[in-house]
Amino acid sequence: MTAPRRLGARHKATVARIVESITPTFPPLDSGKRTVVFADVTRFVASQIEALPDFLRPPYKMALSGFEWLAVVRWGRPFTALDAARQAAWIALWSDSPVGAMRNFVKLIRGCALLAYYDHPLLLEALEAEAGGEGSRESIGEPA
């Protein structure tokens, strides 16, 4: 017996919105490249969820559904229908939750998304360009 591997369209849409919300704006990319990078990162994150061990994949998919629809309780709309600020707030609520499973849910997507994002060839190009350019290295200031 094997649990279904593929994510459904709704799950993929949820993943795509989470990826979009948590990926940083550094380094700057033009919109065309950004679209390509987001699509690739989303595909990678989805494939990583699909690659989870058989006994973990179904609960993770349930968590994706929960993440999507529990937002209705808080905001009156599912996660994918929220505006960017509320999406970020909803993600923060989960990633800072006292419940370990909720934190781990976001941690998995965030880790995979950041890995795929910063190791994407277009990002590496942009990083190299930034590193070679002027003014990209200000002091090591901690964020406000």
């Binding site: 649990a3 990678f44 990583q48 950041l114 890995l115 910063y118 290295r137």
Partner: protein, 855 residues
């Protein structure tokens, strides 16, 4: 999957499951020694020299579960291993360590690991180091991030080492083809020596029965098509790594000490920001490790890419993410420890890929990782770091060595740490300590004759260093030991066409059969029967050619070295063709048929299949070959149980078969009578009751153990009688039956001189055990006879629906008397038993102790 096909079975001499460090080394050793080898690999056969091993493509393609394998516990640990041809050697950094000296002593003390010393293992390490081009990096190639790390250690006066790697060209860390992984070394060598490799083939279950592995069930996934088939093999080596090997064993019902002691090297990372550009992403792999706190804690540099940096920062992404802007001045480092917690591997029932890995970090792990992280921070600041970003949820950025020391004074909760791990061990530990080890000191799984583990599962605990060198060295050692044992224990196999055979024996290497063969080829120590004038037709022991029928599933090593005139014929009573080969050339000879099934695994029908149909097949083959006389070993069971303790059966007692076994033996006796009546072959039936003596099976040793521990159940008053037969007494009776003209067409009870009461048997065994220094409990478990009667009724009910349960069967007989008279054998054959209970039991226990059986 598009569809599922059932394929035909494949066969091979040696089946190796897994192609990583253990599997590739095993395949090379065995293929180059001339064995027919088939390697099964679950993952794809991808040319890894074309893929950077840290890329997202590699993660999707080469890593198990896409690198998403969690070790569950209070804090989950991310575990990464390869799933492709070459296994984890294709995705790791290729670091090379020999096993630390103190480890040998620890494993000898804890696991009673035999023949495992630095002197024995060093040549294996040296040989592999040459094969894998293990070397240090040239100074100009050492990356700046490593140089800074070394300078930090030097400033603090901490001991460090430069770790060599399996790498031919130490250029960029991911230079195509540079790392000498299994794909570039041992797998091609094994294939060149004739090994076959099947990728995309997952072993789903080990097919085994009575301690013999017939083969492995396999699912092959190619091009969206799923095909199932079985690979049959003479010997199976499991080399799927410390997670998948125990999972496969447990899924196959093999669980004793399997998957119970997972040990790991939990690791925590930190990113460091320097003033200067360290260009870690362009650099070769980090090379230094700080061993100042080893074996508890090791510190070192980690693989770097902007993506890995971001992942390390992701636990505190909001406050840490600005560091990405300085990625060219950042590098990654780690602190790791030898695990002190305990983990386990369990297969999820009904889920093909379901493996649950649990690792529960201990308080010591928590402490060591906290200290390790603090030490790492101190070192990095000594190396010139401006900031350190630990992968601990909620941790602030560290700005000084003092802050790091302060961190070390606290206890970082394990639940805040982001833990990862790439090393797993000890899930099938090897050694002679039966309480904790799953395999012997050479990887042979306890309870099995042809099943071996040869990967990191065998490593008894966390060694504190990268284990790939140790895994390969152990694999070569064990494979060579397997070959030596194979050559030493395999008796001469009968050539085709077989030559002449004076004596044929079935039932070797079983209990009675092995002793009979010994007596036939060497003579009996204290009995004249083997050389008696009446046995002239058997020739003298030295001249006899004795041929034994041995099932492919049986281990013939107990017959090895007995005589140059001893031949082994592979075959089975249920395979008439093999019996014709077995009997060929035995015209005018003697056949001893002692093979039989006493305790089937589950079904009563197996009694008839072996005891009745097998005897019919054998008698037909023997008649066809012109065998002169057949001596058939029957049992007391066709006659049943005595009506009272004082009653003795004799050869005129009527048939009253006891359950399925008795019926099958009675039907076999009827076949013998038919053959006798046909006049085509002389026949003799020998009925030995409960026998005892050397070469005994584990169930008889358990009988001693139960008496020693006071757990032997005595039903009723214990005065029920049992005739027993020491194996040498039976052998004497068999030889006399074979040679005596009077015996033709007769049946004889053969046993010790008199029956014994159960009380006497138990008291005698107790006395003998105590004379060997065993401390025995004075009393046994005494139960009313009704318990035995109840067991008999349950046994009968089960057998009536075709099911057999050994414990009910044995308990159901325990309150019965089964005793016989040997007067006829004495009168007609001149049989005179030389052994009585005490001497026979003494010899049995001596044999147990001399052959490593635990009482």
């Amino acid at each position: 999957m598009k569809r599922s096909d059932a394929g035909a079975a494949m066969t091979t001499q040696i089946l190796i499951v897994g192609s990583g460090a253990g599997g590739a080394a095993t395949a090379t050793a065995l293929a180059e020694a001339g064995c027919e080898v088939l390697i099964l690999e679950e993952g794809p056969n991808v040319d890894t020299s074309r893929i950077a091993s840290n890329s997202t493509d590699a993660i999707s393609l080469l890593y198990r579960n896409g690198g998403m394998t969690p070790m569950l516990g209070r804090q989950s640990t991310a575990f990464v291993e390869g799933r492709c041809v070459g296994g984890s050697t294709e995705i790791n950094s290729g670091f090379w360590h020999r096993l630390p000296e103190d480890t040998y002593l620890r494993w000898k003390a804890n696991e009673l690991l035999a023949d495992f010393t630095a002197e024995i293992m060093t040549p294996y390490f040296e040989r592999i180091e040459a094969d894998l081009s293990v070397s240090h990096m040239r100074p100009e190639q050492i990356p700046r991030s490593s140089v800074l790390f070394r300078e930090g250690a030097e400033r603090l006066g901490w001991k460090y080492v430069e770790v060599p790697r399996c790498q031919k060209e130490s250029g960029s860390q991911f230079a195509p083809g540079a790392k000498q992984s299994m794909q570039r070394t041992y797998i091609p060598r094994a294939i060149a020596a004739g090994a076959r490799l099947l990728a995309d083939c997952k072993a789903t279950r080990i097919v085994h029965e009575n301690g013999y592995v017939r083969g492995v069930e396999v699912t092959q996934n190619t091009d969206g098509t799923r095909r199932r088939f079985e690979v049959r093999a003479d010997a199976v080596f499991l080399c799927c790594g410390a997670i998948q090997t125990p999972a496969l064993l447990r899924r196959s019902g093999i669980r004793k000490n399997v998957g119970d002691r997972l040990c790991i090297h939990p690791m925590i990372k930190a990113a460091a920001l320097f003033d200067e550009e360290v260009e870690a992403h362009d650099a070769a792999l980090p090379v230094y490790q700080v061993k100042e706190f080893w074996p508890t804690i090791s510190l070192g540099g980690a693989v770097f890419s902007p993506g890995f940096l971001a992942m390390t920062l992701s636990d505190n992404w909001t406050p840490y993410q600005h560091a990405m802007q300085d990625w060219t001045r950042m590098a990654l480092y780690y602190a790791t420890t030898r695990s002190m917690g305990r983990g386990s591997i369990r297969a999820v029932p009904g889920v093909e890929d379901g493996v649950v890995i649990r690792y529960e970090p201990s308080a010591a792990d928590e402490r060591n990782l906290t200290t390790g992280l603090a030490r790492l921070g101190e070192l990095l600041f000594a190396a010139g770091a401006k900031a350190v970003y630990p992968s601990v949820a909620g941790s602030p950025i560290l700005h000084s060595a003092d802050e790091c020391r302060g961190l070390g004074q606290q206890q970082i909760p394990i639940t805040s740490m982001s833990l990862s791990n790439v090393h797993a061990f000890s899930t099938c530990p090897m050694g002679e300590n039966l309480d904790i080890c799953a395999t012997d000191s050479y990887g042979k799984v306890y309870g099995f004759r042809n099943l071996f583990v040869n990967d990191a599962s065998l490593i008894p605990d966390a060694p504190g260093v990268n284990p790939q060198g140790t895994t390969m060295a152990i694999a070569f050692r064990n494979a060579e030991h397997f070959m030596e044992a194979k050559q030493r224990t395999m008796p001469r196999t009968v050539a085709k066409p077989p030559g002449r055979a004076d004596v044929l024996v079935t039932g070797a290497p079983g209990w009675l059969g092995t002793r009979l063969v010994e007596v036939l080829v060497r003579g009996m120590d204290d009995s004249s029967a083997a050389q008696s004038p009446g046995s002239a037709n058997l020739a003298g022991p030295a001249e006899r050619t004795v041929r034994c029928l041995v099932r492919p599933s049986d281990d013939p090593s107990s017959l090895a070295g007995l005589s140059d005139n001893l031949e082994i014929a592979a075959g089975d009573l249920t395979d008439p063709a093999s019996l014709r080969e077995f009997c060929r050339g035995a015209e005018g000879g003697t056949l001893f048929h002692s093979a039989g099934l006493i305790h089937p695994e589950r079904f009563v029908r197996d009694f008839d299949r072996v005891n009745f149909e097998g005897t019919r097949n054998l008698l037909a083959a023997a008649q066809e070959a012109g065998v002169r006389r057949v001596v058939v070993v029957s049992s007391n069971s066709p006659i049943g149980c005595n009506p009272s303790p004082d009653h003795l059966f004799d050869e005129r007692s009527p048939y009253n078969p006891y359950m399925g076994y008795g019926r099958s033996k009675a039907r076999a006796e009827a076949l013998v009578h038919d053959v006798q009546a046909s006049g085509r072959m002389e026949t003799v039936i020998i009925r030995p009751p409960w026998f005892y003596g050397p070469h005994q099976p584990p169930r008889q040793t358990l009988f001693f153990t139960m008496i020693k521990d006071g757990r032997f159940p005595i039903l009723g008053d214990g005065n029920q009688k049992r005739s027993m037969a020491y194996v040498d007494n039976i052998c004497q009776g068999l030889l006399l039956a074979a040679s005596s003209p009077k015996a033709n067409g007769e049946t004889y009870w053969i046993a010790d001189a008199r029956p014994y009461s159960i009380n006497e048997v138990v008291a005698t065994v107790t006395e003998v055990l105590e004379s060997f220094g065993f401390h025995c409990k004075g009393s046994q478990v005494r139960l009313p006879a009704i318990v035995g009667e109840t067991a008999r009724v349950i046994d009968a009910a089960l057998q009536s629906v075709g099911l057999y349960h050994q414990k009910f069967h044995v308990l159901g007989e325990m309150h019965q008397s089964i005793a016989c008279s040997i007067d006829k054998a004495r009168a007609e054959l001149g049989y005179e038993p030389n052994y009585e209970l005490q001497g026979g039991m003494r010899a049995s226990i001596e044999w147990c102790l001399a052959n490593g059986q635990r009482i």
